[in-house]
Amino acid sequence: MALDRQTVARIARLARIKVPESELDGLAGELSGIMNWIEQLNQVDTSAVEPMTSVADLSLPRRKDEVTDGGIAARILANAPGGAVLIESGKPEAGGFFTVPKVVE
């Protein structure tokens, strides 16, 4: 399956990765090469095969729905780029928030 530059631009957008115009053709070539190589899977008859999602042959474990953690806002915000705001514990609004560019006009 050959991917053209428009397709690469579309998936880059879906993946939220800025790809410079000048790199689209090169990437289209590389990704097409990989996808063509992957095409050989079509030689395998999988009509009666259940897809395997995990090697662990178990259902996911359950636990009681209760709070087991908390009060660590400072640790969660510690690595935030662009100025997170921590509100000290003790205050009713304790916790804090990350900051992002304005999303609502």
Partner: protein, 489 residues
């Protein structure tokens, strides 16, 4: 007396126990090596102060009588394991400067058993690679060189810094992670032992995720016994990883002493793949002879879907990586590159933060999961994966372990195999099927090739039967008596 940096982990614990040397002396000897071997670029972060502080605490613990399995043993940690207060980058620009406020389960277990951290080792970015060439922090040099050839060789990948550090005697052991061969292939390239346990044996909590249905932690060390000891400390159920196995951890060290008389060793005929060097096939035959001499019995087996393992992997792993790496958005941690709005900020951050191979895999993953392609690619790959796993289940009805080469060649030079991505992917042809099936496997160094480079063999076991893998691995190690080391190290 043997130099402290030449001791195996098992010898170190004995010497520390007798009081022949202290944890602090041991840490200092290795820190000195780390400083002298900086040109290898094996470490992204060195933690000498932490190492000395942990070593002193270990010496104090020993005096009070409470000692762990790895008490006082210095170790290198792949920079994919989150370490509290110590920069953890996954060798990516997007995580540069990230200092976790928590410790991964596996490293916590190592520290609980008395191990001492030397530093964080280099790797392929997000563990995506087989050469360590994709690291944002530069390539790692393999301490081994071809005879009469001064070109720098790759240590393999993705756990390349871990393997280079252990081969260069900077650390007696290191943690690695393996998604498609990232422990076993670098171990083979550097003349070391590398063990990937069964999926679920080690907790993935606190390890930077690449492909969650495949990622497993494991040790890289110089002997099978050392790898067993390290894995003993690293393993065990963890409620914080929903795929962690609720099983008792067996005694891996004792398993290394098990006789292999009567053990059936499967030889998969499909592994004589095109493009494999003649010398690799010869070593494979020799390895079987060694195991036969130790009492094992060779059995020809068939793993018919072997040739489809790599293309399956290159759908499953990128698909999972594209989801896992969605978290790097410039909001909560890591790099942020401003933009005119929120989406622009995401795109700028991820465009600048990811290297070329990571970007390629995220794009492939996004493509195969996108509307209209999911069934044709992702579901198809999951179905073929089921067939690959079934091949192993069938084969293990006839044998107890499987012997194959670890990699199709010895270590290659930096810049080789870089022509196109698929050429690099072929490095993992022998290790990827095991990963897809989630089985335990070890690489053991067996001999040097005509150019003086180490070659390893690969033993695969049934799920949660690491003990048989260690027993066969130890027998192979004993017969091969591999004692070579890189010149000058």
């Amino acid at each position: 007396m043997t130099k402290p940096t030449d001791l195996t982990i098992t010898e170190m614990t004995a010497a520390l126990g007798k009081g022949a040397l202290s944890a602090l002396e041991l840490a200092d000897a290795h820190l000195q090596g780390m400083e002298q071997q900086r040109a290898l670029n094996a470490f992204i972060v060195e933690t000498p102060e932490k190492a000395r502080e942990m070593a002193k605490a270990s010496d104090a613990r020993r005096k009070s009588g409470g000692i762990g399995l790895l008490e006082g043993v210095p170790l290198a940690i792949k920079d994919l394991f989150c370490t509290e207060g110590v920069q953890t980058t996954a060798a990516s620009h997007i995580l540069e400067g990230f200092k976790p406020t928590y410790e991964s389960t596996v490293t916590s277990k190592l520290w609980q058993q008395g191990a001492v951290m030397l530093g964080k080792t280099n790797l392929d970015e997000f563990a995506m690679g087989s050469s360590n060439m994709t690291s944002h922090f530069g390539a790692v040099e393999n301490p081994w060189k071809r005879k009469g050839d001064n070109r720098k060789l790759v240590p393999g990948g993705s756990s390349g810094g871990s393997a280079a550090a252990v081969a260069a005697r900077i650390a007696p052991g290191a943690t690695g992670t393996d998604t498609g061969g990232s422990i076993r292939q670098p171990a083979a390239f550097c003349g070391l032992v590398g063990m990937k346990p069964t999926y679920g044996r080690c907790s993935r909590w606190g390890i930077v995720a690449f492909a969650s249905s495949l990622d497993q932690a494991g040790p890289i060390a110089r002997t099978v016994g050392d790898a067993a000891l390290m894995l003993q400390a690293m393993s065990g159920y963890d409620a914080k990883d929903s795929t962690s196995a609720k099983l008792e951890v067996p005694d891996f060290v004792t398993a290394c002493k098990r006789p292999i008389k009567g053990m059936k060793i499967g030889i998969p005929k499909e592994y004589r793949v095109e493009g494999t060097a003649e010398e690799i096939l010869k070593v494979w035959d020799r390895g079987m002879d060694m195991l036969r001499d130790a009492g094992a019995e060779p059995v020809e087996i068939s793993l018919p879907h072997t040739k489809y393992a790599l293309p399956t992997y290159y759908i499953v792993a990128p698909a999972e990586c594209s989801s896992n790496l969605a978290r790097y958005d410039g909001v909560r941690f890591g790099l942020r590159v401003p933009g005119k709005d929120l989406i622009d900020m995401y795109e700028n951050t991820r465009g600048a933060g990811f290297g070329k191979e990571t970007r390629r895999r995220i794009l492939i993953g996004t493509y195969v999961l996108s509307a209209g392609y999911y069934d044709a690619y992702y579901k198809k790959a999951q179905q073929v994966r089921a067939l690959i796993a079934r091949d192993f289940t069938e084969a293990f009805k006839r044998c107890d372990a499987i012997l194959t080469p670890t990699a199709p060649s010895a270590a290659f030079a930096m810049g080789e195999k870089m022509d196109d991505p698929v050429t690099m992917y072929l490095n993992d042809v022998f290790t990827v099927p095991t990963s897809l099936a989630g089985l335990p496997a070890i690489s053991v160094p067996v001999t040097l090739n005509s150019e003086g480079l180490p070659l390893g063999l690969h033993l695969i076991g049934r799920a949660f039967d690491e003990e048989t893998v260690f027993a066969a691995g130890a027998a192979l190690e004993k017969a091969a008596a591999f004692t070579a080391r890189p010149a000058g190290f």
